[in-house]
Subunit: 274 residues, 2 copies
C-alpha cells in the first residue's frame, strides 16, 4: 500500500530515465519543499529542464503540476496537524485510553502552537478592561464551556452574563448590547445556524466578538474580532473540546492576573475571602 508521494516515488524511481531520476532525487533530498516551488525553480534545482519535471510528475500519475502540488500540500497538512505521537508513555500503550489521551495532548500542543502570548494577552486585556458588559454563549456541546468561563469571570468582575435557554431569550438580550460590550462565542463543527445569526446581529450592533472555534473556523469568524482555533480531532465518535477548554482556563487565569495587577478593589476583596 502506497500512502505518501515519497513512497510512490521510491517505488517507481527504478523505472525512470536519467533526467526524471535526478528530479526524483532532488525532490526526495529535501522533501517536500522543492515540489512546492514552481516548475522553473524545481527544474533549476534538479539541473534539468522544465518539461522533464512535468514528465516526471506525469509519470507519478498526476494530470498536471498543480494537482501534484495539491497532493503534496494535503500530505503536509496531515503531517503538521497530527505531530508524531512521541510523548506516548511506553507503559500504557495497550489500552483504549492512550490513543484518546495522546490525541488530546497533541491537540493542545497544536492549538497552543498557533496561539501566541500576544494574542492571548490582547484578548485577556479586552476582557479585563470591561468598558462594557461581557456576554458568553455556546453551541449544543460547547455551551458548558461558556458556562465554565462565565462562572469564573463573573466572580472577578461585574457585568458578566451567560446567555442560556432558548434562542428567543438571548436574541432579546441583543437590545442590551452595544459597541462597548464583548461577546464570547463557542462554536465548533456542525456550526449552529442560530448562533451565526446571533453573532451577525451582535456584530452589526458593534459588539466585539471573541470566537472559540475549531480549525475549520465557524462562519462566525467573519464577524469576530478575535478568533481562537482549537484542534478537535480525536479517535472517538465525538469531537473533543478539551483544547478549547484549556485555552479558556488559560484566559481566565490571564484575566485574573491582569485585574490583580491593576489593583482592582474587587480582587482584593476576593482574596480576603479566599
Amino acid at each position: 500500500m502506497i500512502s505518501s508521494i515519497a513512497e510512490l516515488i521510491s517505488d517507481r524511481i527504478g523505472a525512470m530515465p536519467a533526467g526524471e531520476r535526478r528530479a526524483a532525487q532532488t525532490l526526495i533530498a529535501n522533501y517536500p519543499l522543492t515540489g512546492l516551488k514552481t516548475v522553473a525553480e524545481f527544474s533549476a534545482a534538479a539541473g534539468v529542464s522544465s518539461p522533464t519535471i512535468l514528465r516526471f510528475v506525469a509519470r507519478l500519475g498526476f494530470q498536471n503540476y498543480p494537482e501534484f502540488q495539491s497532493a503534496l500540500q494535503d500530505e503536509l497538512a496531515a503531517q503538521l496537524q497530527s505531530p508524531a505521537s512521541r510523548t506516548l508513555d511506553p507503559g500504557s500503550a495497550g489500552g483504549a485510553v492512550s490513543p484518546m489521551l495522546e490525541a488530546t495532548l497533541d491537540n493542545m500542543r497544536e492549538t497552543f502552537r498557533h496561539l501566541t502570548d500576544k494574542q492571548l494577552a490582547d484578548i485577556a486585556t479586552r476582557l479585563a478592561e470591561r468598558r462594557g458588559k461581557t456576554f458568553l454563549i455556546g453551541g449544543r456541546f460547547t455551551d458548558p464551556l461558556a458556562r465554565y468561563m462565565a462562572a469564573h469571570l463573573a466572580i472577578i468582575q461585574p457585568d458578566v452574563y451567560h446567555l442560556a435557554g432558548q434562542e428567543s431569550i438571548w436574541r432579546d438580550r441583543l437590545i442590551d448590547m452595544g459597541k462597548r460590550d464583548v461577546l464570547v462565542i463557542f462554536d465548533i463543527r456542525r456550526y449552529q445556524e442560530s448562533l451565526v445569526r446571533f453573532a451577525e446581529k451582535a456584530h452589526h450592533r458593534g459588539v466585539q466578538i471573541i470566537l472559540f472555534t475549531d480549525q475549520w473556523l465557524s462562519p462566525i469568524a467573519r464577524f469576530a474580532r478575535h478568533v481562537i482555533a482549537g484542534r478537535t480531532a480525536v479517535p472517538s465518535a465525538w469531537d473533543s473540546s478539551a483544547a478549547l477548554f484549556v485555552v479558556a482556563e488559560t484566559l481566565i487565569g490571564a484575566v485574573t492576573r491582569q485585574l490583580e495587577a491593576a489593583g482592582a478593589k474587587r480582587i482584593r476583596d476576593l482574596e480576603s475571602l479566599r
Copy 2:
C-alpha cells in the same frame, strides 16, 4: 524579536482592518498551509477578496505575494529539518502561556497514570448498561463538566438527566432515584456542603455514585462506587478542571463505543442521522 511570520502576524493583527484580520486569522488557523496556496484560494478560505489578501501580505512587509510564499517555505524548511523544535517553541517559554500549558499537560499525564484502563472500562460499562437512570451534577465550577457529559450521554441513551438549578430542586429529584440508578458527581476543592449532603442521601437510597474529584478527594468519595481523581494544580489563581474534562471526554467515547458494540438500536439510528 520577531523570528517567524506567525509572530509577525500576531504582532500586527491588532492594527489591521477587519478584512485583513480575517485573512490573518484564517492563515493562523491552519498555518502555514493556506499561505502556500494561490491568492484566489486564500481569499476564498478567508471569505475576502483577492486584493485584501495582497494588502495583507503587503502590510506584513512583503513586496509581493511570491516573496511572501518564499518566506513561508523557508520557514517550513527550517521547521521540517529540526523536528524537535516543532513541539513547542522553547524560545517562547518566557510567556504566560507555556507554564500554564505545561502544567495542564502534566496534570493530564499524572491523572491518567493513576487511572487504569480497567477502571475506565468498568465505569463505562456501568454507564452503558443503563439498567436505570443516569443523573449528573456538579459544583459551582464543575457543573459545566456535568452538563458537557450529560449533553453527550443524553444523545446516545435515554434517561439521562442533568440536575440543575437550586439545591431544593435536585433534592426533590432524590425521590426518583433508586439502586438501579447512577449518579455522576463532579466536586473539586472547596467541596460544596450541599453536594456532600446530596450524595449521602443518594447513597442511602442505593444509588451508585461515580465521583470526579481532585487529588485530595472530596468527602463524597466515602459514598462513591467509583472515584476519579484528577490533578488540578496550575500556576493560576484558580484550579484547573482540564484533566477531569479529558477524563469525561474519554468516558463519553468509551460509553459510545460500548453501545455501538452492543448494537444498540439508538446508536444505529443516530448514525443514520450523522
